[in-house]
Symmetry: C2
């Protein structure tokens, strides 16, 4: 790259001059590809201190244009040190946020077309492709047909699973017979789970809570079951929960943000059994199906319930196709008005990898997690804290004393020691009171070797900790 | 491009193999640049019929990978006909959705890094850059200092202005003294406007509504003022509204999604007078500040109000910096958990164009709209329906009969005739009962000539219509 001080590179000529756009975009492609090539050079978890960036940047926007070389030099020296590298093959924290070549290409095209697909006429292809690819994905998951367009259901892409749950909650509230329902959040019931059910929701605990609420004059109208909890990827018994929801006339939503993606493989599909009871089903291809963030897919059996709660028809958006009810305007199935053409990336992913490629990808992660699980299980000093589910392993260093607190401090100290090295990044949770390390096989570039390297780092830090404590 | 039938291009080797990623991304850059180069060949408003796409695509995802050439060939022949070309220089519909070279480069980098910036530690640069560039932009707008970090305020990027208003509504509800407030939407008060105030909200009408509501036992807690309405870009009298809000202890939100961007120019800044009364201020750089969708900037004086309503601290997200309250986690200022690194594109835009370039851009659009306004005003058969504001012109063909209905049919027919030609795309609204054409100078590539070409099309279709009717 030319140095800015040579003054060779001009500032941008126009706000969207075609050949300049082409040249700059090619330069950015190389910048990003070089970043991927060199990603192992960076500590996986950023090691900067709070407030590091402000002293490095001016207090005000520049009055006059700067060159792209100037900006990219700042990205390299000032921004990248503050990045936690989610695309590093040694990122095992939280849950994955998948990037892939196909997903990125779809995202590039979506950004390039730069349409806003709130209504059908604002770009018919955006609405129609979204419906089609969500049917494709629904078929790969073998979702009940009522979720597919052929039987009156539909899929719609949301930004995140939180947005999806907001949307269906509003629909459920609208559908419920209570004309006036006070603030929903205040009446949210969180039902505790424990290791007796591997942290899945217990149907008997649910029945008890429903009986209490009903006796107290509340009208439960919404039940959320989870396939793959955030903490430990626990799987709720969907069939039983669905039955209970139906008995009580409740909307049943299944949140399968992470683990649902695995259900494109026949050997994992049984986890979805019971989804036939659900009114809505959500999973995030941006978590584990190679589709760059954001792309959260929501299917509903009765799109009209969403439209009743969310539809708006301001005059400025009226048009022949909408007035004729010939089309669905996707703005009526989400909270915001604006929306990007996100189905492109899902379409690219499904076509460029094929269903077989996607299944292989899921299996490679699960297989790497199984290997890690076997290392934990054959180790003398580590133990599993919950059963391994999918590509997530919950484990800890066995405490030497019986009190919970010292075991928790030991594992928290171990985790910080691991992450401060920068060679890999894991996070934690608390299960039944126990501070637990979570290793999620995450990145689209993670191979078995990266998992084994992480195991080596974990053991080195455990050695050091146990020898000094 | 090679033809797929030659079978030269292989399918993707890996999900993120660096040199393959580089090669494919370069290919996509050229595809998009060629699209921009050739954009005038497409009808601006897509002319397809509802349901056009399903017969062109398979019913199921492919089992095996396809090549990028295959997919791009389908984009060209099957998707682009279904696109309404928001980036065409002859797109004058709705409000703009800006794309620019700088905005796209920032979006590319954001997608390339592919981090999820929910908490500070999940990528410190994402949180810190967002705060810094929103201070930069706040200073360009000369927002009151209480909105900037130096005085305890903060800016935060949301997806859309709808999300921003949801967020502040929740904060306002939380802040309000009413312990139990019933469903907010049911009690939304829409206060009608008319041409007597150029469609701005009348303070006396607001006072009357507040008095009625209070007398009826309601407790108004939230007032939304608009700078640049969707219909006609009307500007509410912010100072007077702010005063009233304060008298009643209401949260005052200013939604300036489109027109607020113009306030970076000193000659337009007076429209923002009164924002000093606001608790929150929102505008969309993705509408009119060269920042690719989505990027809606929200500033609040008291971030704690948002956190009180929205903060979550699940164990899996706990970390040293958060526990020490050394940082703000931006997830606590929005509804979803996940979030992209959107400040990069705003940073790229401000640096690569400079404040001077951004002001010139706004002025060039306003100037083109002024020219169009003068054409309407000097025409015998067209008339303005509302005063021109910013880059939006609301006009219509003068009805030959006095009844409203025939004038409305005339203009609706005219609009459909214009848009069916595909040379430009305008939309409409209804103002005081009158069907009104809206020409919004929109695209980052619109020049005066495109506006004059649109005027010619409008007149040709008016000729045809008046000669046959």
């Amino acid at each position: 790259m030319r140095s800015a001080s040579e003054g060779v590179q001009p500032t941008l000529l126009g706000v969207l001059e075609v050949e300049e756009w082409r040249r700059c975009a090619h330069q950015m492609v190389d910048f990003i590809a070089d970043y991927y090539r060199d990603i192992a050079r960076f500590p996986v978890r950023s090691q900067v201190e709070p407030g590091y960036l402000a002293p490095l940047l001016p207090n005000e926007a520049p009055e006059n244009p700067e060159t792209l070389d100037d900006v990219l030099a700042d990205v390299q020296t000032k921004i990248l040190p503050g990045i936690t590298h989610w695309q590093s093959p040694s990122f095992f924290a939280y849950y994955p946020s998948n990037a892939s070549t196909a997903g990125y290409l779809g995202e590039m095209l979506s950004g390039g077309l730069s349409i806003v697909g709130f209504s059908w006429i604002s770009s018919p292809a955006a609405t129609e492709l979204e419906t089609i690819v969500l049917d494709w994905l629904g078929k790969l998951l073998r979702l009940p047909k009522q979720f597919l367009t052929c039987e009156g259901g539909t899929g719609v892409i949301q930004g995140t699973a939180s947005e999806a749950v907001c949307v269906v909650l509003l629909a459920a509230r609208q559908r419920s017979k209570a004309a006036q329902i006070a603030g929903v959040a205040a009446n949210l019931r969180v039902i505790p789970t424990d290791s007796s059910t591997s942290f899945a929701l217990s149907p008997s605990a649910l029945r008890k809570a429903l009986a209490e609420d009903t006796a107290n004059g509340y009208m439960p109208f919404f039940l959320c079951g989870t396939l793959g909890t955030t903490s430990s990827a626990a799987v709720d018994p969907l069939s039983e929960l669905g039955n209970i929801a139906q008995e009580h006339g409740m909307w049943f939503h299944v949140d399968a943000a992470y683990a649902g993606n695995a259900c494109i493989c026949p050997e994992f599909r049984h986890y979805l059994d019971g989804v036939e009871w659900a009114d809505s089903y959500c999973m995030n291809p941006h978590k584990w199906l190679l589709t760059n963030f954001d792309c959260s897919t929501l299917w509903v059996k009765h799109p009209k319930s969403l439209m009743d709660a969310l539809s708006t028809r301001p005059e400025v958006l009226r048009n022949k196709a909408t007035d004729a009810n010939a089309v669905v305007d996707l703005k009526d199935l989400q909270i915001p008005l604006g929306r990007r053409f996100r189905s492109l990336k899902l379409w690219f992913v499904m076509r460029l990898y094929g269903a077989s490629g996607l299944r292989n990808y899921i299996r490679s992660h699960v297989s790497a997690a199984q290997h890690f699980e076997s290392l934990v299980k054959t180790s003398d000093r580590f133990e599993m804290v919950a059963p391994r589910s999918f590509s997530l392993v919950c484990f800890r260093l066995k405490p030497r004393e019986v009190d919970t607190e010292s075991g928790n401090i030991l594992n928290a100290t171990l985790l910080e020691a691991i992450n401060s090295r920068g060679e890999c990044f894991l996070t934690h949770t608390i299960l039944d009171g126990a501070y637990t390390l979570r290793l999620a096989v995450s990145s689209s570039r993670t191979e078995l070797q990266h998992v084994m390297d992480a195991w080596a780092v974990i053991n080195q830090e455990a050695d050091r900790l146990l020898s000094t404590s």
